[in-house]
C-alpha cells in the first residue's frame, strides 16, 4: 500500500525528533565521558543544603557599580573563598549589583569573616628575600643577588632591640627557621590576614616568585587616596611606552612614606632592604626598590608592567582589594535534610500532578489521551537532557522554584495538545474524514499554539533577563519547557496523529478513540464531502473556513427548522 503524503511527513518529523534527541544525549554523554558533565542536573542550595550569602555593595548616594567593578569583586571574593579551602563554592554576580556566594554545607566563622571583610593592604619594608624554590633557601649559600644575609642567632631572643622596621634584628633564629620551612600556601590561612602589624611577617609574591621576611607595617593601605595606571614620562616630559602605577597618599601617609623612603633609599640598590613591599590579604603583590626619597606622597611604581597589570595593581591598591565595600544582605542556611525534603516534596508533587493530568486526559479524550501522555513523556525526556546540558555548560542549578516551574509546565504543555485536539474535533464535527480533520485542525491549531506560546516565552525571557535570584530559576525552566513544548507538538504529537489517522482503528471512529464523529455530532454527508474538499483546495483556508462556518450554522438552522416546521428547509 502506498503511503500517503501526511504519513511520509510524519515519519520525517519523527526521524528529526529522534535525531535531535540522540544528538542531545550524545552531547551530554560525551560531556560525562570527556568532561565534567553529569547525568543528573546539579541542584541549587535549597535542594541540596548549604549556605547562600548575598553581599550588597555599600554605595554613597548617586554612586553606581560598574559591571567591571562587580566582576573584579566577584573574582576577588572567589579567590578568598577558594583560599579558605571551601570545595564547590560558587560566587556569582546577580542583578547588576549583588554578589552571591553559595557554599555547600555550613561555613565556619573564619570563612564568613574572610568573605565579608574587605581585604587588608599594608606596606612593610623588606628585610630578607629569596626565590621560592626550596633548595635555594635550605641551601647554605644564599641565592644570587642578595648579599647581606641576616645573622641567624639560633636563639629565640632578638640580638638587640630593633631600631627601625628594616632592622635585621627583627629576625630571630626561630623566625628564620620558620622562614626556611615556610610553605607559601599557608598564606591562604584566613588568620594571616589578621597578622599583628607590629611584628615581622613572612610572605611570598606569586608575581616574582620570591619569599620575603618583612618588617612591621609602616604605612597602612587606608592612607592611599588614589591609585592610577599611566604611561611613564621621562625627564624631558616625553611619554614613554612604559606603564606604571601612580599612587597618592593622604597627609598622614605622605609623612610616613617620606620617612620610610628616606631610610630605605639609604640602603644600596642591591640590598633587599632597599625594597618596600605592598602586602594584600597576606600576599606580597609587589616589592619595588626605592629609587629616591618621595616627599610629596605621590610615588610611582614602575617595572615590567603591561597596561592591564598596571591597572589591576592600581585597582587593588586603591580599593584595598574589593573595588567596592560590601555588606551582607542576607545569609541563608538550608540544612541538607530540609533540602532533601524539599526535593522529595517537589518530585511527589510533580508525580501527583502528572497522574492527575493523565487521568483527566484519558477521561476527556479517551485513547487520544494516550498521545498526550506519550507527548508529555517525550517533553520530559527532552527537558531533562537540556537541563542537564545547561547545568554542565552554563552552571545552571535546579532550585525548588525551578522544580515548581517544571511541574507547572506539565499543565501548560498539555494545554497545547488540548488546543490541537479540540481543533481536530471541530473539523470532525464538520463531517471531515479523520485524515483531513487532522491536517486542517493542525494548520489552525499550530498557529494558535505558536502565538500563545510566544507570549509565554516572552514572559519567561523578560523575567529571566530582568529578575533576580529565584525568579530567574523559575523563568528558566518555564521558558525552556515552552520551547520543548512547541518542538514536541510539531515533531511528535502532530506526526503521531497523522499516523494514527491513517490507521484503520483510529479512522474507524471507534468510540474509545475520542475521535468518534458520531459522538461529535457530525453528519455523514456522502459524496458531498468530496465535492466540498475539491472546492476547499481551490479556495484556500480562509474561504474554506467560511464554508465550515456556514455549514455549522446551516445544520443548526436545519435542526431548528425541522423542530418548528417538521420539514427540511433548503439552504440558499
Amino acid at each position: 500500500m502506498a503511503r500517503s503524503a501526511p504519513e511520509r511527513a510524519a515519519t520525517r518529523s519523527l526521524i528529526w525528533l529522534a535525531v535531535i534527541t540522540a544528538a542531545l544525549f550524545a552531547v551530554l554523554g560525551g560531556g560525562t565521558i570527556w568532561s565534567t558533565a553529569t547525568w543528573a542536573p546539579k541542584l541549587a542550595l535549597d535542594l541540596q543544603g548549604g549556605t547562600q550569602i548575598i553581599l550588597a555593595p555599600q554605595l554613597a548616594s548617586g554612586q553606581t557599580v560598574t559591571q567591571e567593578q562587580l566582576d573584579q569583586a566577584v573574582s576577588i571574593i572567589r579567590d578568598r573563598v577558594d583560599a579558605a579551602g571551601v570545595a564547590e563554592a560558587e560566587v556569582t554576580s546577580q542583578g547588576g549589583a549583588n554578589v552571591v556566594v553559595s557554599i555547600p554545607g555550613v561555613p565556619d566563622e573564619e570563612t564568613l569573616q574572610r568573605i565579608q571583610s574587605s581585604a587588608k593592604l599594608d606596606f612593610r619594608p623588606v628585610i630578607f628575600t629569596a626565590a621560592i624554590t626550596d633548595s635555594s633557601i635550605t641551601d647554605e649559600t644564599p641565592a644570587p643577588g642578595e648579599t647581606p644575609t641576616p645573622e641567624p642567632t639560633y636563639s629565640d631572643e632578638r640580638t638587640a632591640e630593633p631600631t627601625d622596621p628594616s632592622d635585621p634584628a627583627w629576625v630571630t633564629e626561630a623566625l628564620y627557621q620558620e622562614y626556611l620551612e615556610f610553605d607559601c600556601s599557608t598564606l591562604n590561612d584566613p588568620d594571616i590576614v589578621t597578622a599583628p602589624a607590629d611584628e615581622p611577617f613572612i610572605s611570598c609574591s606569586p608575581r616574582t616568585g620570591e619569599k620575603f621576611i618583612l618588617g612591621p607595617v609602616e604605612v597602612s593601605g587606608e592612607s592611599i587616596t588614589d591609585a592610577t595606571a599611566g604611561l611613564v614620562t621621562d625627564s624631558q616630559g616625553r611619554q614613554t611606552n612604559e606603564w606604571a602605577v601612580y599612587l597618592t597618599f593622604d597627609p598622614e601617609g605622605t609623612e610616613e612614606f617620606t620617612a620610610v623612603t628616606t631610610r630605605l633609599f639609604g640602603f644600596p640598590q642591591t640590598d633587599p632592604r632597599n625594597r618596600f613591599a605592598a602586602v594584600l590579604d597576606g600576599w606580597v603583590i609587589m616589592a619595588p626598590t626605592v629609587e629616591g626619597v618621595i616627599t610629596d606622597g605621590k610615588p610611582r611604581i614602575s617595572g615590567g608592567f603591561t597596561q592591564e597589570s598596571a591597572q589591576t595593581l592600581a585597582d587593588q591598591l586603591k580599593f584595598g582589594a574589593l573595588p567596592i565595600g560590601f555588606q551582607v544582605q542576607s545569609n541563608e542556611t538550608i540544612s541538607a535534610t530540609l533540602g532533601t525534603n524539599q526535593l522529595n516534596a517537589g518530585i511527589i508533587a510533580g508525580l501527583i500532578g502528572l497522574v492527575l493530568v493523565v487521568a483527566y486526559s484519558l477521561f476527556q479524550y479517551r485513547l487520544l489521551g494516550l498521545v498526550t501522555i506519550a507527548s508529555l513523556v517525550v517533553a520530559a525526556i527532552l527537558t531533562y537532557v537540556l537541563i542537564a546540558i545547561f547545568s554542565w555548560r552554563q552552571g545552571y542549578r535546579l532550585s525548588l522554584a525551578g522544580v515548581a516551574g517544571l511541574i507547572v509546565a506539565i499543565g501548560f504543555t498539555a494545554d497545547s495538545f488540548i488546543v490541537y485536539f479540540e481543533r481536530v474535533r471541530d473539523e470532525l464535527r464538520d463531517g471531515k474524514p479523520l485524515t483531513t480533520a487532522v491536517e486542517n485542525g493542525w494548520k489552525r491549531a499550530f498557529r494558535t499554539v505558536l502565538s500563545a506560546k510566544f507570549i509565554n516565552l516572552l514572559s519567561a525571557v523578560v523575567l529571566f533577563v530582568l529578575a533576580v535570584g529565584n525568579v530567574r530559576g523559575f523563568a528558566f525552566t518555564l521558558g525552556l519547557t515552552v520551547i520543548v513544548d512547541v518542538l514536541v507538538v510539531l515533531l511528535f504529537t502532530h506526526p503521531m496523529l497523522q499516523l494514527m489517522a491513517a490507521s484503520r482503528f483510529w479512522s474507524s471512529g471507534h468510540p474509545a478513540t475520542g475521535l468518534d464523529p458520531q459522538a461529535l455530532g457530525a453528519v455523514y454527508r456522502g459524496r458531498a464531502e468530496f465535492r466540498f474538499s475539491a472546492e476547499k483546495r481551490r479556495a484556500g483556508a480562509s474561504r474554506e473556513a467560511a464554508k465550515r462556518q456556514t455549514i455549522a450554522e446551516r445544520r443548526a438552522a436545519e435542526r431548528s427548522r425541522a423542530q418548528h416546521d417538521g420539514e427540511q428547509g433548503e439552504e440558499s
Partner: protein, 327 residues
Amino acid sequence: MAGASRLTRFGNDLYTGARSVDFVGRRWTWYAIAAVVVAIAVIIPIIRGGFVFGIEFTGGSDFQVTDVGVAEESVAEAAVAAVVPEADAHVSIIGGDSVRVQTEQLTQAQSDDVRAALAEVYDVPVEQVTASFIGPTWGQDITWSAIRALLIFIALATVFMAIYFRTWKMSIAAMVALVHDIVISAGVYGIFGFEITPSAVIGFLTILGYSLYDTVVVFDKVRENTRIDGQESRRTFAESVNMAVNQTLVRSINTSVVAVLPVAAILWIGAGVLGAGTLRDIALALFVGILVGTYSSIFIAAPLYVHLREGERAIRKHDERVLELRQ
C-alpha cells in the same frame, strides 16, 4: 464515561450554536461582577491594613528545625527567649514535624546561639537547624526588578498582540483582563492575610504569561470567526465574537483544568506536607491566577473587545444591515 460524553455533547452544541451562552450580550453583568470583585480585592486588604510581607521584605532572622520528635511551639519560644530575651519570636509548626521560628534580625553571634539552643531543646544535631537572615533591602530589590519586568513584558506583549491580531483593540482588551487577574490574585493574598514572599511574586509574574496565553487562544478563534464571517455574515459582530467564545469554551475548560491540576498538586504538597515555603507560595498565586485568567479571557476580554470595536463605522453598518435583514 457519561461525564466525558456530556462535556463532548456540550462542546458539540456550543460549536454548532445549538446551545450558546451569551457572554457578549450580558457584558454589563460581567463588568459589574468584575468591578465588585476588584473593589473587594482592593478595599478589604486596605481595611485589613495592607499586605502581610514575608521576612524577605521586612528583614529578619529565620530558623527552621526539621524532623523534630515532638513539635511544640512553647519549647522554641523559651529557647529563643533564653538566648535573646528582647527578640520577639514567632513560632509556627509546619508539616507536623518541623518548627519555624522568625525573629527580628539578630547578629551573627546571637543567631549562632539561637541555633545551638534550638538544636539542644529539640534534641537534634545542630546541622538540622537552618539559620537565615535577610536584610530588608533584599525584598525591595526583587520587587523592583519584578515590577520593571512586569512593565516591560506588558509593553512587549501589547505590541506583539497588536501586530499579530492587526488591531490594538485586542491588546487593550487583553491587558484590561490581565490587570483584572493580577489585582484579584493579589487581593486573595490581602484578604486572607497570606504572606507575600518572593516566591509569591514569582507566582504573580507567571500569571502574566498564563492569563495572556489563554486570552490569545480565545482571541485567535475570535479573529478567525470575525474575519471569515466578514461582509456576508448573517451575524452581527457581537454575535460572531460570542460564537467564537462559545466554540472555544470546552477548550478553555479543558486547558484550565489541566493547567490547574499540577498547580493544585504543588499547592497540596507545599501547604500540607512542607508547610509554608517556596512551593506553596508559588502554587497559591498560580492557582488563583489560572482560574481567574481563564474566567477573564471569556467574561472580560472578549466582551470588552466587542465594546471597543462596535463603534467602528464599518462594523456598525454591517450590524445594522444584519439586523434589518432579520426583520
